[in-house]
Symmetry: C2
Subunit: 104 residues, 2 copies
DNA sequence: TGTTCATATCAATATTTTTTGATTTGAGGT
DNA sequence: ACCTCAAATCAAAAAATATTGATATGAACA
């Protein structure tokens, strides 16, 4: 099983407003970094910082073509994230064990 | 539509290792705060801080009974989080618009 | 009312994350 | 080899988040 630090990585990607704005741009199709940068209130190095976090999370994939890098949403990353979210937040029916004060 | 700050709230709850450890405890059933505290490397006020974040995210619900508060996973919160995750990371087929340099 | 116990809140500090500007790397083109 | 441009990396500063200890709140009960 992955460590909590490892699990947290995917969700960390999703808890910054600027990264959510980047994801929104990618929902409409593949975009290269310079295009993603335009509408954002970010410097080039700031965008690079956020793209690294998004790619490390698996939610976004980058594809190099010459000097440009094209980013797009990853279906595999999305599916993995949903599975992880469910794994972390769904009761485990085989290990039910309310604390004594919770059993009225 | 919710703001990015609002959306980020759910995922912020999931990107701290201590909060993931708390969720793990809740997967096995309802627990009161003092029981949740025991195995954690946290002070009472630290636990209270994290429980507030988890409850505000909607993933956890608290139920007061006398002086105790019993916490449990929220099915509604989980469903909402999954929907939000999909909404943020699924391509929007009606607005496809690759950047010109992405169309080879 | 006064006491106890569980939890919340507050203010200060510590830690982590993000931003910035400068520099570096690396792919093309001349 | 040199130049240009896109992107990554680095170190320092700024901003946000987490932790701590002290104090406050609020429920139960004598």
């Amino acid at each position: 099983m992955e460590t909590y630090q490892e699990s947290a990585k995917v969700f960390k990607a999703l808890c910054d407003p600027k990264r959510l704005a980047i994801l929104k741009q990618l929902r409409s199709g593949e975009k290269c970094a310079c295009v993603l940068l335009e509408p954002m209130d970010l410097t080039q190095s700031g965008l690079s910082y956020h793209m690294k976090i998004l790619c490390d999370s698996g939610l976004v994939e980058g594809r190099q073509e010459g000097k440009w890098i094209h980013y797009r949403l990853s279906e595999a990353g999305r599916n993995k994230a949903v599975k992880l979210l469910l794994a972390l937040t769904t009761p485990d029916i085989v290990s039910q064990n309310n604390c004594s004060s919770c059993d009225k």
